[in-house]
Subunit: 158 residues, 8 copies
């Protein structure tokens, strides 16, 4: 099965975090490809990857990076597919990561989500919401997930 | 034509900014509905709007708000459609607006874009990228737009 | 005894902190109800809870939440009772939590207190000060508490 | 009519802002006393004022101050009445004002509201919510105000 | 020997830090009094202490406090002696502590030093520099200390 | 009359601000020398100035600088006299100025005061408090000034 | 004359600022090429430019960009020449610009200078210092410039 | 072999970090001198060192310092050689360190790199890039290093 979502990350040290998103995609039956691809240490690999991914049917990019987090922006510069940016935690608490992911110029958006593990998960949920627009089964699963979340809260108070 | 994108904003004072996004959607031939709907001063209207929008074929929400910017999060809590948050400029430079838009808990993502006018535009581009996943004409227009942006840069240097 | 104060929190992980406030209310003989209620994962439960609480005699809401901390604001949007917001510690040191609690628009105030455990306690003290306005015994206890605090300082220096 | 709310401010330059709150109290028929009283330049006057206010039936303090904003905290140290702090805008965007208002130690709470004019207004609304707990007419007016806010939003979209 | 320097701190938990300064004063042969005195929990004790200290020959106040750090400002409001403020570390990294110590209004200065242990030490050195203005032996010791610091650096590189 | 206080500033553009302090010193009858001396563009002049000032009876240095504000620290490194640092306003609101003035290492204190004009004034008041320790007339004037400040507040409320 | 320094900027709106640097290079007799080249809107043009520049004898890159300022990092990823990054002022005061320029991963440095106009100038001075390492005439000019800066300070005090 | 790069640091506690840079220089065959030299505790030693280094053929300075990090600026004030500043981590997450390194006035640039260990490494890489401008073997090694970095990324994904 060709991957529908590409999960890229700037460094191997981001892998544990970013795989939180991969697990959620798997639970929703969405295939994904997880790769370490640095915008700074391997810019050509990023360019190659993005070009191939588009051809092979990737529909959404999820890019996790920290510090001067350029990966999401560099991918967004080279594709017309939606790019979701996950700012990794950093020495500055992730502030550097998220402003360098968020503050993109007009015409080249990055859909930024929360810092760290929460963001890695929410990138997956956001990708699912996007894919669900043309997939009624996925929509059904998302609705169930919303019901489950509410139920879980209800359980906590019993 | 039923609106495909709903552009909501917390206050009438955000209108000039948010209409920057409406113009871009229009250029790409996407119908949208622009409404002032405060999560704090009119919570029921928000709930009604979200419920109706889903039924009437809205596919993407764009929510602009400033300060304790809860609108995008409150909408995201009530829908499984993608929600894009635009943090408005504020007394704190928009810092309050974007952290309260960005830092959503796992399971309820908001796709946050840049602060202010740039973000209002990028929310529209992001919505178009999302809608283009199942619309080849829109994809073509996005590709042309990317070529145009590069051309404009090239022109600047002549 | 019907709860006079409702202590709500966005996540089960906030419970230890928020129960610091419950203990203080108990010491002052004020009944309270402690519930996990997420504005994002269970918005309807929040709406139901607020509606019922008002009917059942709740007088003050204390809402603890972190990150994009919308709980206090969402409750404040639906009640005319005083709402006290406790910003939880977070990856950003609680900065996201307190600006998204504090920066509410005109007409929908949230009484924000300090970050974390200190805030959880002070939310209780603030609730007591509010309730004491129409309860002379409570006023007496507060005066004693103020005397005790001074005594404790005096003791430290012996 | 003896003032029920005391609006204090650290400097004459805060007056225009703080009077926004006085106007709202007036609209709700609540008497208030507006005074410039610096915690730093006139500490004894603050002590005198607080002692007298308590005796004369003041029920809520609203204290606006900027920079090293100590006024609310200094008042809170000397009273068991609820103290609402309004952080004024400053050279640092009001960040100094609100952290020095918000981060009070356990036992001496300050109910902090938004920065600047919005905060001055919300301090008044919060005071009204507090006073309404033992005043059914005031509750009625607050309910009407909430309905009005929603109506105003509805009007904006016509 | 009557204390020449008063070292005050807002909370017992600041004691280890603040005693770093006491040690340095002792090394320079300056008597000091170390007290826990909260501006918020014991405002009258602060007022009493400041009045007595002035009478008894105290020449410099050193005040350590964290969070909404009002102690130095409250002391400065009541004395014409130099007041040195030491911002304690806090949940916000000490940012709240130092802006609420530093940003005093015109006419009521606080000499703010670095956050935490370094500040506790430098408050002592600053007090010594101030006292040395009218004490030639102290000046001599300070000169020796400066030479020693340079020597220590020189040693590090051998 | 030999200057007792040296007011140094990193740039000519700081002069208007720093002269606010000179005026206050003049009102208290304290002679001062006002000089533009950049730690970065004229390090030798700074070294010469500090060496001469000590010999000629200067007792307190006031150093105003912005951005990477090193002037106060560089002066403090070369003298045992008290050095007061005034952080100038900057593109970053003065945050860069004050952390680079405040966060000095142990052994080399800088007495930091508020940002900008308020700080320029308070540097003067702090210098006066320091000089007043060995000058009873100055102490008297400071006491009168404190009384005047209180009176001014009292007048505001008439 | 082939350009020795390439001054690139992310947007035409940065031109006035960045030309401050061009003027300084000109004064030192260093040829430079000034181009608008967005890392996000024209990534291929950046790649082409960097490849050609290296072949044509460019020795230093100066890259100005604001917001999610990726230009310097993207250039650094593709060259082994020194890259100097100038963070432009932004809605967030330039904080986003400089952290996304500064916080590069190990192996791909960007020499970051001050925000805005000062940085644009200092980027030029830094480039000159670098080029002067193998150009004794340039070294002489830099020494003269240092003397001139000191002289200018001396003049200010006459 | 005379040192080509001088690695200076403000405190012995920075040594482990700064030696990361020394290792990299060694790998590239560049001699360096590592010294602890505080701008504040040993200003004369800094002046002496800089004067001698220039005479003895040092070409690049790398200066690591934390807090009010003046070392790089103080060195830059006394040399026309390129100065690279490494902001050390601090109680404020390194924010104080990097703004006091970065925000230098026009005419006296400091090439600032990332905070902490990453910065210590990148200072070395930047120095190598600078030295490689007149050393073709070094250029070759840098190109190999770039290839190696890409290869390492490629390996991670196998």
């Amino acid at each position: 099965m060709k991957p529908v979502v590409a999960i890229l990350m700037g460094s191997d040290s981001d892998r544990t975090m970013m795989e939180e998103g991969a697990k959620i995609l798997e639970q929703f039956g969405i295939s994904c490809d997880v790769k370490v691809l640095s915008a700074h240490r391997s810019p050509k690999l990023v360019t190659e990857y993005v070009a191939n991914a588009e051809k092979n049917g990737t529909k959404v990019f999820i890019c996790g990076a920290g510090g001067a987090a350029h990966l999401a922006g560099v991918v967004a510069a080279q594709t017309i597919l939606p790019v979701i940016g996950v700012p990794m935690e950093s020495a500055l608490g992730g502030v550097d990561s998220f402003v360098s992911t968020l503050q993109m110029p007009a015409g080249v958006p990055v859909a930024t989500v929360a810092i760290g593990k929460t963001g890695a998960k929410n990138a997956a949920y956001l990708a699912i919401e996007i894919l669900a627009l043309s997939d009624s089964k996925l929509r059904e699963k998302l609705r169930e997930h919303k019901v489950e979340m509410e139920k879980a809260v209800r359980e906590k108070n019993k």
